[in-house]
Amino acid sequence: MRFIVSLIDPATFVLAIVAGLAVVAMMVQVSLDVVMDVLFGTPVPATLTLVAGYYMPLITFLPLAFVERLESHISVEVMTQFFPARGQKHLHGWIFLFCCIVCGMLTYATWIEAVDKFHIGSFSIERGIKIVNWPVRFAAPAGYGLLCLLFLLKFIAYLAGASMHPDTRNRLDIFKNDGGPNE
């Protein structure tokens, strides 16, 4: 399992890096926009469009697999804790298949839409500036698709009797916090 996950972790890492860059770019651009506007009356062009049409989809969709690798997608453990351990394990395993199917649907749907927008060449216009926005459409199938793959791998791991929670130190750790504030 460690081996299989190591196959898709690089992709997870790359998508997470892009999402991280989007967060920083958003902070810098919006702040610059405010400063330029207040000081010189010349806001940074296309800020609203870039934030809504670029940064937000990147931040929303790209880290989905990263979040699952940290096991931070939220679920409720109220009822199942009373199930016997074996039952819990099987339930857990088959839920991975269910998750994989749902994410597969999402990947398929958003992929069709992204291809459609690519053919249309969709763009938006802010203050006379044309900003092509179809490329970001592919963030949705990329994020859902990788998550779908990860769920599939976890399901295979369950069938094979391997650990479904491989936790290896790897490059994803650069975004992980392992302590309190470092004063």
């Binding site: 009356g41 806001p43 609203l48 809504a52 249309i120 969709s122 006379g128």
Partner: protein, 363 residues
């Protein structure tokens, strides 16, 4: 033929139920309930948001919807051209009823004279049945604009590109804000003005946070509307009589919306005066300056549509729209402003009667 079963249709407005567009949609539904077996259920914001409506119509989440073309510059690039030229209707040759004139011109252009528009609509699995116009835009301000020169140095939020260029032409700064933010931005002084219909003073409650409205500056309108865009499969499933009924009801929907808006605009201005806030009327001098702006803006629009929107034969298309606007100014100037039926008859006579409901939106 099988037994007559009422067909349930879903109309997505994408705006709150307090909006005049919702009222007009309800009237549309009532008319069809009387004249056909179609049962149209009207949804406010609960079914689809404005930015989801074309996709929702394409895939049949809604059967009919209220579509704002400028939200989708690429998807509706062809239909955005008349929308971007709507200042032709409010400048130059005087129009008594600029709204119905622009609706007529847009519909005649899109439905009868623009094969590229129809091609685009088909690719979105959509049939266009009627236009629309939100009219009489003015400057809603927390620091008054008494003449066109006062625009210089002001920070203004605009809803359409043509008004944005107008503001910049006279030395103001266009500020990009989402619709939800305008109230707060006017309230904190983050923007000085916003271009809106007087209706928004009460409808969106801007009256609470502004000091003045400069009525009819620039007096332009928002006409990039398909008020009854329909899913093609739903359209194909209707009988020819039903298609004709829906189409003509669509035209009246656009007119009803315009009429309700006119009333609410009056009420908005009256409310401003009641509150002791300033209603500034535009001078003849400034009207001439707006016309001058529109004349120099025309080549800007055509260039933008050729270069950025990627349209072909833009010059010819724009000239045709210009001609249709003149034609419709003439036709609608003959009608008394309150006579919705007379406008509706004009639409039937000049446009809808020329549509073949056995082929339109089907092939």
């Amino acid at each position: 033929a099988g037994p007559v079963v009422a067909k349930d249709l879903r109309y997505a407005v994408g705006l709150p139920e307090s909006s005049y567009n919702f009222d007009a949609a309800v009237a549309f539904s009532e008319e069809l309930a009387e004249t056909t077996d179609l049962d149209v259920k009207v949804f406010g914001m609960s079914l689809l948001g404005l930015n989801e409506i074309p996709g929702g119509i394409r895939d049949g989440l809604a059967d009919i919807g209220y579509t704002l073309f400028p939200y989708f510059p690429a998807e509706f690039s062809e239909l955005n051209l008349p929308a971007n030229l709507s200042m032709l209707a409010t400048s130059g040759t005087p129009a008594q009823n600029a709204g119905p004139a622009m609706i007529g011109a847009s519909m005649e252009y899109i439905m009868l004279n623009c094969p590229d528009c129809q091609e685009q609509l088909k690719s979105l699995n959509t049939v266009y049945l009627s236009g629309g116009a939100a009219v009489d835009y003015g400057l809603v301000c927390n620091t008054p604009v008494r003449s066109i020169e006062d625009i210089a140095g002001k920070r203004v939020r605009t809803g359409t590109p043509d008004m944005g260029r107008f503001i910049e032409y006279y030395g103001g700064t266009q500020v990009a804000l989402s619709g939800n933010e305008i109230y707060d931005a006017l309230s904190t002084g983050n923007v000085d003005c916003s271009t809106n219909s007087p209706e928004n003073l009460t409808g969106l409650r801007y009256i609470e946070v502004v000091d003045s409205i400069t009525h009819l500056m620039p007096g332009s309108m928002f006409s990039g509307l398909g008020t009854a865009n329909m899913n093609r499969d739903t359209w194909a499933g209707l009988t020819e009589d039903e298609r004709r009924a829906v189409m003509e009801a669509g035209g009246r929907l656009a007119l009803n919306a315009w009429e309700i808006l006119k009333e609410r605009n009056e009420a908005g201005l009256a409310a401003m005066e009641d509150e002791g806030k300033e209603v500034i009327q535009i001078s003849e001098d400034d009207k001439a300056k707006i016309t001058a702006f529109v004349e120099q803006d025309y080549p800007v629009v055509t260039a933008q549509f050729a270069e950025q929107y990627g349209l072909e034969n833009v010059e010819a298309k724009a000239e045709m729209i210009k001609g249709l606007v003149e034609k419709w100014k003439g036709l609608t100037n003959e009608v008394d402003g309150a006579d919705i039926q007379a406008f509706s008859d004009l639409y039937v006579q000049e446009i809808y009667s020329k549509i073949d409901t056995s082929t339109y939106g089907l092939e």
